[in-house]
């Protein structure tokens, strides 16, 4: 089924609410990244990707790799929204015995494609998958890989970038969550990444830059990426860390912290009223 942009925006908001509830309940975890990725994950799970929540191992599915595993609450929330599992299970995040591990473990939860957390190795795995598709002359499946921007400090990322450029892996689409923060501060202070656009181009990639909160732009960029056949494509998605929760936005201290119950209450109020743009809270 296809959704209108407005429906997708509401879904993204619901996913943000779920992220807040999960993190509050878990009492640990990362807030900023999952919130700012909600629009991208909504676009991927509800428009861009070919997948079947009832058959996670479907052989024709597109593949989504979350390289920066600490942002997995957004993936769990999107998966639950899409019907991979019951939403009640979201409250088991980070709890003993849960399928929803603090960082994603493939062998625990159907629908996860890799195990990630230690940064920098998702893009290589995505490239290995795309290289396999290339060897099999498969032009019907796509490998999407979401990475953080702080994660681009890792050498492994650039080994993968060089490799994907060499083999012209057209089935590979990387999405960089350019939120400009990492644990110790702002990316340009910790380890400057700019000129990021030029870096990727120099490694043989086609680069698209978008507003990572504009769902229509995300869908269009993915569509364009699939039309580019001579190179791998990276979508640099400019995002606001903590997006949707004003007191978290732009503040790197929220990278690795969960909201307490008071903060969660306020965050949910902000999300439900679209930061005061509507009077009553929607449900």
């Amino acid at each position: 089924m296809s959704y209108t942009i407005q429906q997708l925006e509401l879904k993204a908001n619901t996913i943000r609410e779920d992220i807040i509830k999960m993190l509050e309940h878990a009492k640990s975890g990362h807030s900023a990244g999952p919130l700012d990725l909600a629009d991208i994950f909504t676009a991927l799970y509800f428009d861009v990707m070919k997948h079947d929540p009832k058959n996670p191992d479907w052989e024709e599915r597109d593949i989504l790799i979350l390289s920066n595993g600490h942002c997995v609450p957004v993936r769990y929330a999107a998966m639950a929204e899409a019907g991979y599992f019951d939403k009640k299970e979201l409250m088991t995040l980070r709890k003993y015995g849960s399928r929803l591990q603090g960082h994603p473990e493939r062998t625990r939860l159907p629908g996860l494609e890799t195990t990630s957390g230690p940064l920098g190795s998702g893009l290589s795995q995505a490239a290995g998958m795309a290289r396999s598709l290339q060897m099999d002359h498969n032009h019907t499946r796509w490998v999407y890989c979401v990475t953080g921007d702080g994660e681009l400090d890792e050498g492994n990322i650039w080994e993968a970038a060089m490799f994907a450029g060499k083999y012209k892996l057209q089935n590979l689409i990387a999405i960089v969550d350019r939120n400009n923060i990492q644990i110790d501060g702002n990316t340009e202070e910790i380890m400057p990444l700019e000129d990021l656009h030029a870096k990727w181009e120099a490694f043989g990639w086609h680069v698209i830059e978008i507003d990572g909160h504009n769902i229509e732009s995300i869908i269009d960029a993915c569509s364009m990426a699939r039309a580019i056949v001579e190179k791998p494509v990276v979508i640099i998605a400019h995002t606001i860390p903590g997006k949707g929760v004003p007191f978290m936005q732009y503040d790197y201290h929220w990278h690795g912290a969960p909201p307490n119950s008071q903060q969660a209450k306020e965050a949910l109020h902000k999300l439900r009223t679209l930061d005061g743009k509507i009077r009553g809270e929607h449900e």
Binding site: S124, A127, M129, R131, F163
Partner: protein, 329 residues
């Protein structure tokens, strides 16, 4: 005397015994595995000829991927290919893979449970003149402690070929260490090999010599020397360090009551460590661990270094005498 069921060569200890690098057997085995199963793919980090992956690359160029000098990428691209149903063999020197990329192997292959086959060539001090940087000695220890990981160190090139074919079908994350230098070929096509099994190559009653990789042959040489001295040594070959064949080792230790392990690697955490763990928990037995003793190697000729670091049959026999004196029956 040699266990006839093992079908070993008859000139063990002779100067004219055939020598071949263990890695050559891997090269043949991989090409054969490729012929048997089209899911087999090979990836290398700029060492295709010296890891002997060139045999496969020439036979199946469309299934070979050159990674360049990037060992982190080597194993993670391999993990991605395994996710798509391929059976990737990824090769480099052991010092670099798994030396440099251990965490990537841990997360994306072992924890992720993908059947990538990590081939570490040029392990041990017999690498020779290249020196300590290239003489990987810690690989058995660091790979053995990783859950889900199978660890194999074939004793010669003939066994390496069989081990490669076995790894191609075991469906598990696996590590195999190979040596660079010509190593005496003591097994034959008829010598049994199964992953997870240790083999009694020679039966004895006074002491058990347990070897892996290149040092198993040295244990056989030592047993021959000891026989001349009136000592009956049992020799066990442990090509699979993990999972360890506890039954075979315990049965022998129960019989002889003195054990020596031998490996061209750090004794701490290596085969010596594995056997010491087993015996101390299940059958406390005096043990001496022959191997590198908490030090790095250095440049030199392979034979010269094996002597300098006490990794010869003569040394193993000397340790056996000392142990039998220290722990009389």
């Amino acid at each position: 005397m040699s266990n006839p069921d093992m079908h070993l060569v008859h000139n063990i200890g002779a100067a004219d015994i055939k020598r071949e690098p263990i890695r050559a057997g891997f090269g043949r085995g991989l090409a054969e595995a490729g012929r048997l199963d089209e899911r087999i793919v090979a990836l290398c980090a700029d060492l295709t000829d010296s890891t002997k992956m060139n045999v496969f690359a020439e036979a199946f160029p469309e299934r070979f991927t050159e990674i360049g000098i990037g060992e982190q990428n080597l194993v993670t691209v391999g993990a991605g290919m395994a996710a798509m149903g391929k059976i990737p063999f990824v090769s480099s020197y052991a010092a670099f893979s798994p030396g440099r990329n251990w965490e990537q192997i841990r997360t994306t292959i072992a924890l992720n449970d993908r059947p990538v086959k990590i081939i570490g060539s040029h392990a041990g001090v017999s690498v020779g003149p290249d020196g300590a940087t290239h003489q990987m000695l810690e690989d058995i220890a660091i790979m053995r402690v990783m859950p889900n990981m199978v660890v194999v160190a074939p004793g010669d090139s003939v066994e390496a070929e069989k081990a490669t074919l076995a790894l191609a079908t075991n469906g598990k994350p696996s590590y195999m260490r190979l040596a660079r230098e010509g190593t005496p070929v003591f097994t034959t096509a008829n010598t049994p090999f199964e992953l997870g099994k240790a083999y009694v190559l020679r039966e004895g009653t006074d002491i058990t010599l347990i070897g892996t990789g290149t040092m198993t042959y040295q244990c056989l040489v030592a047993a021959k020397m000891l026989h001349g001295d009136g000592v009956s040594a049992e020799v066990i070959h442990v090509p699979t360090i993990k999972p360890l064949d506890a039954k075979t080792i315990l049965a022998s230790a129960k019989k002889t009551r003195v054990v020596i392990t031998a490996e061209e690697a750090q004794a701490a955490g290596g085969l010596g460590g594995a056997v010491a763990e087993l015996l101390s928990e299940q059958l406390p037995t005096p043990i001496r661990r022959v191997g590198m003793q908490d030090r790095f190697g250095e440049s030199g000729e392979p034979d010269e270094l094996m002597k300098a670091f006490g990794l010869t049959g003569t040394h193993v026999a000397m340790h056996a005498h000392e142990m039998l004196e220290k722990f009389p029956r």
